[in-house]
């Protein structure tokens, strides 16, 4: 499904990604771990098309098509979804309106008829219960006055509504208490399917107790320094990163 080859990216002239290679197949769950500043978030932003970052080398293919040639919104319509680490507020734009606009933009792209307000409301209300968000949140401004946990659940709600082919979760576990973590993890597990891949970026292994990955990769200094299975995450929890020759205090952010 997704093939990342020798990906280099810079921000404000500083190279953050220094040759990433990664293959993700449909149905797989991958976890990317690594110390702060290793380039984990940059990788997810670059895949989603954040124009703050410049790709200087390498390629990313989505089902053989060059992803990097596509604008942000086109990538989204091709099924790339990013759950943000710090979801931004859009005051005055109701969550419902925002979500319906997004869903319809993607349906339009696939040549499907738009969902009308009533149909969509029914779907959104049902889905919001799945992530334990009261349907009243749908009427509020996008993330407006939401708590940290509510924002994260709202991100998962969006993933469930948009049904992406590749869901990238950027530190979705950060700032969540154990109950909220459980709700978010249940949401992500509900996303799992044989047609869909999930890429989780996380600092802590605790998320992986709830969402079991097929592969774990360690990112450090802008490169993947080790890949393994589920057990690698546990080993990292026990031993930290230093046994891999990785400095935990890598600086770039």
């Amino acid at each position: 499904m997704l093939s990342i080859k020798n990906l280099h990216a810079t921000v404000e002239g500083e190279e953050i990604l220094k040759g990433i290679n990664l293959e993700i197949k449909a149905g797989e769950v991958h976890a990317i771990m690594g110390p702060n500043g290793s380039g984990k978030s940059t990788l997810s932003q670059v895949l989603a098309g954040n124009e703050t970052f410049t790709v200087t080398e390498g390629e990313v293919l989505l089902d053989g098509e060059n992803l990097l040639d596509l604008a942000t919104e086109e990538r989204a319509r091709e099924g790339i979804f990013l759950a943000f680490q710090y979801p931004v507020e859009i005051p005055g734009v109701s969550n419902m309106q925002f979500l319906r606009t997004a869903v319809n933009a993607q349906r339009h792209h696939r040549g499907e008829p738009e969902m009308n307000a009533a149909e969509f409301m029914k779907l959104a209300r049902e889905t919001s219960k799945q992530v334990d968000l009261d349907p009243s949140f749908l009427k509020r401004g996008v993330n407006e006055g939401f708590s940290g946990g509510e924002k994260k659940r709202n991100e998962i709600l969006q993933a469930l509504l948009l049904q992406p082919r590749l869901a990238i979760l950027d530190e979705t576990d950060s700032g969540l208490d154990i109950d909220a973590l459980k709700v978010v993890a249940d949401g992500v597990n509900a996303l799992k399917s044989k047609d869909r891949a999930i890429l989780m970026v996380t600092h802590y292994q605790r998320l992986l107790n709830h969402i079991v990955p097929d592969f774990v990769h360690v990112l450090a200094g802008g490169q993947i320094v080790k890949s393994g299975g589920r057990e690698l995450a546990l080993e990292l929890e026990d031993r930290g990163y230093s046994w891999l020759g990785v400095n935990e205090e890598t600086t770039a952010s």
């Binding site: 124009e51 919104e73 931004v88 859009i90 005055g92 309106q97 997004a102 401004g141």
Partner: protein, 482 residues
């Protein structure tokens, strides 16, 4: 940052869709202003003597006044002798005309603007007075309104048919000597709308005036007077457009509202005069004085405005809260793009006990434009228990636009209460990225974010027009993201 700016700059490039010219024969005065021009104007309109005297007095006063320079706008001096003060489509007979007699070319013009004047095609529940250059060409739904006792006609007609009301109220809220542009208007106003709602009557439909400037080198000086007798209610909406021309054109209107005991007037404006091209060439100078007097106790005047057009807007719809417990409201969205300039806001003058006012102002600046909120909240010595709430929010699109807030407060009463909030924000890269990451077009994203910003004001508009206002913002911003 740079990304959003680039997108914004592209979204801003946009054609004005009401910019066409109607080819119609017109009677137009030679440019220039003097007492003879005013006499001719008054004679053409068949005005009674008192009106001519009123105009001449205003004109003499105006000659001694100076053009104000305090507003945060810049423009070359207007040559008042190069403007024509009257232009009207040629007509065979004198007013008033029925709709069937109106030149079909004019009807087509209004249809093209989305304002069908034939009652069978008209917006349900909305009566329209159509003002074309200097004259009112048609007023719809007059009969059903008359049945309810509501007078809805052009002000020219009111001067002749209801002189007692005109004498009593014209200039009672905005005197001829109030300010430079109001003085010019008092001397030269050519038409406008008159509304009278009798005691205890709730006006059965929305009233509206659609102002269209067509002729070149003319000024439009319309005058609107709305009187709501005790216990009555009326909701009124005005819309404005003009052709695209390279020269600047002057629009200096005066609006006066009078609300007696327990009366309510809701006045909404969707202003979309030609704003000039993307280099700032042409466009309307919109120098307007709008003021309402809450004379009666428990009366209420509410101004809602969506200002997207004009090269320069200079406009402060205000309320004089004289009656006890009277209420003034001002809800405003002002959007400037390219090289547009807006200096707009309100004055809330609290004179009576327990009067209250609310000001919600949303300024949006894109391109190289400049947008200023200027407001005065004044509490007189008798304004015991008066309250005001003011909220001014500015939204910047791109990094070449500017927003300014000038709030003035004068209080002669210690028992008055005032709250003020102000924010400035920017359509952020993060908001744009979130929308686009979900598959939403950048243009749609900007318009959604801006509409969200304006929501508090849009919900005050009559329902038929709230949707239109949202669309108007979309149109005005189109091109500001690519």
């Amino acid at each position: 940052m740079a990304n959003t700016d680039k997108q914004v700059n592209e979204l801003i490039k946009r054609e004005y869709e009401h910019g066409f010219v109607t080819e119609i024969e017109a009677d137009t005065f030679e440019p220039g202003l003097n007492e003879d021009v005013i006499r001719r104007l008054s004679a053409i309109k068949g005005e009674p003597e008192f009106m001519l005297e009123w105009r001449l007095k205003a004109y003499r006063r105006w000659l001694e006044m100076e053009e104000p320079e305090w507003a945060h706008v810049h423009y070359p001096k207007v040559d008042y002798q190069s403007i024509s003060y009257y232009s009207a489509p040629k007509r065979k007979e004198d007013m008033p005309q029925s709709l069937d007699e109106v030149d079909p070319e004019l009807l087509r013009t209004y249809e093209k603007l989305g304002i069908p004047l034939h009652e069978r095609a008209a917006l349900a529940g909305v009566a329209v007075d159509a003002v074309f250059d200097s004259v009112s060409v048609a007023t719809t739904f007059k009969e059903p309104l008359a049945k309810a006792g509501v007078i809805f006609c052009s002000i020219s007609e009111a001067v002749k048919e209801h002189p007692e009301l005109v004498k009593k109220y014209l200039g009672s809220v905005v005197p001829a000597g109030d300010n430079y542009f109001a003085g010019l208007n008092a001397a030269t106003f050519s038409d406008g709308t008159f509304v009278y709602v009798p005691k205890g009557v709730r006006c059965p439909m929305e009233l509206s005036t659609y102002f269209r400037i067509n002729a070149a080198n003319t000024g439009q000086f319309e005058r609107t007077l709305i009187i709501a007798e005790a216990g009555s209610y009326v909701s009124y909406l005005e819309g404005c457009t003009a052709p695209m021309r390279d020269e600047n054109q002057l629009h200096a209107a005066v609006v006066e509202l009078v609300a007696l005991d327990d009366a309510q007037i809701k006045y909404s404006t969707v202003q979309n005069w030609y704003p000039g091209d993307e280099n700032g060439k042409g466009g309307i100078y919109n120098f307007v004085t709008k003021r309402g007097a809450c004379i009666g106790k428990n009366s209420k005047i509410s101004w809602t405005q969506v200002e997207t057009g004009s090269a320069i807007t200079w406009k402060y719809p205000s309320c004089i809260l004289r009656g006890e417990n009277s209420v003034g409201e001002f809800y405003s969205v002002a959007l400037t793009n390219n090289y547009q300039q807006a200096d707009t806001g309100t004055k809330m003058i609290h004179l009576g006990k327990n009067t209250s006012s609310t000001i919600i102002s949303k300024g949006i600046s894109a391109g190289h434009s400049s947008n200023a909120y200027r407001g005065l909240v004044k509490f007189g010595p008798g304004a015991e228990g008066a309250r005001n709430f003011t909220q001014c929010d500015s939204l910047l699109i791109g990094d070449k636009s500017a927003a300014h807030t000038f709030p003035y407060i004068e209080s002669k009463n210690k028992g008055a209460m005032l709250e003020h909030e102000a924010t400035t924000s920017k359509v952020s890269d993060e908001q744009m990225f979130l929308c686009r990451q979900r598959g939403i077009d950048p243009e749609q994203a900007v318009s959604m974010i801006v509409n969200g910003f304006c929501k508090e004001v849009f919900k005050e508009l009559p329902m038929e027009f709230a949707v239109e206002a949202g669309k108007l913002l979309e149109v005005s911003l189109e091109g500001s993201v690519g």
